[in-house]
């Protein structure tokens, strides 16, 4: 994509619109600019509040991706229950 000035401008356009930015191989200078742009985009009040649906769905996704997590959780609860109500 064009020159550093345009690449950084496109990145800023994306983050202020809360879109996933285009990817490109950045120079060291561009990387510094990208990181500070991301930081500025994320710094305004309320901007960093997670979407409720994401919070709800992410645990289900994690449970599927790490299948032993839920299984281990269930096993642990059964063990605790057995200890309390033998």
């Amino acid at each position: 994509m064009r020159c550093p000035v345009d690449r950084i401008a496109a990145f800023v356009d994306d983050v202020i619109q809360n879109r996933r930015p285009r990817r490109f191989k950045a120079s060291t200078e561009e990387l510094h600019a990208l990181r500070v742009a991301a930081e500025l985009a994320g710094a305004w009040p309320g901007a960093d509040r997670p979407d409720r649906q994401f919070v709800e769905h992410a645990y289900a996704y994690i449970s599927v991706t790490v299948p032993n997590v839920l299984a281990r959780d269930r096993r642990h609860r059964v063990e605790v229950r057995r200890r309390i109500y033998p």
Binding site: P4, V12, H32, P45, R49, P50, V66
Partner: protein, 183 residues
Amino acid sequence: MGHGQLGALATRSPEVHVVEGALYTDWESIYQDNVVKVYRLMFSRVGNRPDAEDLTSEVFVKSLPNLSLPSPVVQVNGYINVAIRSVLADHWRRHYGAPVVDVEVENIGQANDVAPTTEGTGRAGRILALLPERSRAILELRFLRGCSIKEAARELGVTPGNAKIIQYRALRLAAEIGQGMLS
């Protein structure tokens, strides 16, 4: 996970209560206690929702298999902090070719880790305050007021091409100021 609980989770005040010797006894509590903190930290580093959501999930996928239950809260925070650094470093390496270096990130589990940012305060506010007027103006127009490059150019009385150059220089300057704050 009940929706009522999640609703409370998404909106509750970001206070941190770490009791010495406290234990996590189930995965859901680990997730509930940390998901918002991890998300906010990720958002502050990537600046957009889709990436912040992906990276937040990745942090849990990476850290949970390394834990066993029950686990001390301090230990869980430690695993999550390691995963945050690794996931962020990988994000910048994979998508922007950044060299593999240790990423500077606040630890979750610290009292000030999720303090809400208010306009003009916080690191971003301090960086902006230290910029020359024109640099600060373009960044405020873009990031605070959400102006397009054309709108920002009009406000500054320059061409859109010039506004992009002013913005690029302003961001490089802001990065230098930010690095100076770390050292």
